[in-house]
């Protein structure tokens, strides 16, 4: 194999004979990205992946100072922020990058939804993507507790209690999650294990599957573009698309650095299990629409506790989102599917409006 290829030098030949680099090179050259008016949305997935890489890198750095116990967690982050050189920067980047990653993930999800990229044969790509959304929210929820501050403590109390609301298995699940009946140091240790080991392992598997499928099936051309016909334009993935990707990643890094430097993440007060929940308590913004919905639900709806209705409702909505590729038969047949476009728009509108209300309506109203 190596003898026919002399343009790369001896090291390349040596590696090629052992790793099969020539095949990879062929694959990279063959890969093409469609060019049309919606091409810009193709960059969101890669952007999310880049921010995930930032999370892994900064997360590993944080591990060197963080101590996962109720007695030491808050103090170890205090130390990290005040004493460790650039400790504040690493932590701020980790927190900001988490927020940006969830944002790009949502934009990626909704662009795929509205452009109907989930249609056959890409159903499993969609399933793995929704799975990754679930993991990202799990990362956010478990990571939020780790500083062991008041806000995190009560957000976790509410969040795990919501798990307890799930019919039949809820209380058992909440107990497993918290390592007991209350949010204590045991919960902190569990969340830590989930955040730094369980979720990364699952995310690794799902990202691998997701990327394999994207590679195998190629980028989806939106049905509208396909129906319009016309000449199909493409650009090579390597280097044209990858270099554009790189510009996006560098911009994201610049935004991250600016946010981390100008708006460093605060640590707040240490959690006190025997203090009242402070006014203005709220979860991370990506849980806000659910949080605000729970506030509006009355204590009983048709004889069922309001929060049960809310939690089961969001569970069913999540299931619906997951199963969209199987439910949207018109798109699968290659016909326009206005209903699912409107469902997508309705989901976005609901999330945006409830999030807006969550930040603007007075907490006692």
């Amino acid at each position: 194999m190596g003898s026919r290829d002399t343009r790369h030098g001896r090291l390349w030949t040596w590696l090629d004979e052992r790793l099969g680099l020539a095949e990879l090179e062929k694959l990279a050259k063959k890969k093409e990205v469609p060019v049309h008016r919606h091409t810009v949305w193709y960059y969101l997935g890669g952007m999310t992946l880049f921010l995930f890489a930032v999370q892994v890198a900064t997360g590993i750095l944080l591990l060197f100072y963080y101590r996962p116990s109720a007695e030491e967690a808050y103090e170890s982050i205090q130390f990290l922020m005040a004493e460790v050189q650039f400790g504040w920067l690493i932590r701020s980047i980790h927190a900001w990058s988490a927020n940006l990653m969830i944002l790009t993930l949502f934009v990626h999800l909704f662009s795929v939804l509205l452009l109907k990229a989930y249609r056959p044969p890409r159903e499993i790509t969609w399933f793995s993507g929704v799975g990754l959304l679930g993991l990202a929210l799990g990362f956010g929820f478990t990571g939020y507790l780790l500083p062991w501050n008041t806000l995190a403590y009560f957000a976790t109390k509410v969040g795990t209690e919501i798990t307890g609301v799930v019919p039949v298995v809820g209380l058992f699940l909440a107990r497993i999650l918290r390592g007991g009946d209350e949010v204590t140091g045991a919960a902190l240790t569990r969340f830590y294990g989930i955040h730094v080991a369980v979720l990364p392992a699952l995310a690794g598997v799902l990202i691998g599957l997701h990327l394999y499928l994207v590679q195998k099936l190629g980028m989806s051309v939106p049905p509208g573009v396909e129906r319009a016909g016309g000449p199909r334009r493409t650009m090579p993935f390597f280097p044209s698309f990858l270099l554009r990707d790189l510009v996006g990643w560098l911009s994201a890094l610049a935004i991250l650095a600016a946010l981390a430097a100008y708006y460093p993440i605060e640590l707040g007060q240490k959690a006190d299990p025997f203090a009242s929940a402070p006014a203005g308590i709220r979860p991370e913004w990506y849980f806000m629409f659910m949080f605000q919905t729970l506030k509006y639900l009355p204590s009983y709806i048709l004889g069922i506790e309001g929060e049960v209705v809310g939690v089961v409702g969001f569970g069913l909505a999540g299931l619906f989102l997951l199963l969209i590729p199987l439910l949207d038969r018109r798109t699968a047949r290659g016909e326009p599917s206005r209903m699912f476009t409107w469902i997508g728009i309705a989901i976005i509108a609901y999330m945006v409006v409830l999030t807006y209300l969550g930040y603007t309506v007075s907490p006692t109203k």
Binding site: F154, K157, V158, E161, I162, V165, R175, I176, R178, G179, G180, D181, E182, A186, P273, F274, A275, S276, A277, P278, A279, G280, I281, F291, L294, K295, L297, P298, S299, Y300, E305, G306, E307, P363, T364, K365
Partner: protein, 151 residues
């Protein structure tokens, strides 16, 4: 494994398959069962104390105020109503377990997490809470406040 010999042959084959399958199943169960049991936390020792004496004097608790105290391993709230009466309730909101507080401006108990309101009897009066707060019995013995579970 040809012709007539097929049936006894497949019998042997299916027996081996069954044997392998059940062995693999038993192996998985023997690995997963301890791991699953390991994840279930052991029961925590519930505080058995039925009554506690608060580190407070009755005269220190001003009218129209409330404060959180530790009752066993859960928070509870002691309030003095605007009329001057001492009352105590579990401070665990019946909605989603947040810790409630006394709002002097509203003269009743309020939960900050989802805007739940309780009156001075611990009854849920507004917002999402589905049940009243559990009441406790408050006794003033000389200069001591003793709080106990209601019988």
């Amino acid at each position: 494994m040809t012709g007539e010999a097929l049936d006894p042959g497949m019998g042997r084959r299916s027996f081996i398959n069954w044997f392998l399958g059940t062995s693999a199943g038993a192996f998985l169960v023997s690995v997963l069962y301890p791991a699953a049991r390991y994840l279930i936390p052991p029961p925590a020792g519930e505080s058995a104390a039925g009554t506690i004496t608060l580190p407070l004097k009755p005269e220190d608790v001003k009218s129209n105020t409330g404060q959180i105290f530790k009752f066993g391993n859960r928070p509870a709230i002691l309030i003095r109503t605007p009329a001057g009466e001492l009352r105590a309730f579990s401070a665990v909101c019946t909605h989603l377990n947040c810790t409630v507080q006394y709002r002097a401006d509203l003269s009743h108990i309020w939960c900050a997490c989802h805007n739940g309101h309780y009156d001075l009897n611990g009854k849920n009066i507004a917002g999402p809470p589905p049940r009243p707060l559990d009441p406790y019995v408050v006794n003033v013995r000389g200069s001591q406040i003793v709080v106990g579970k209601s019988a």
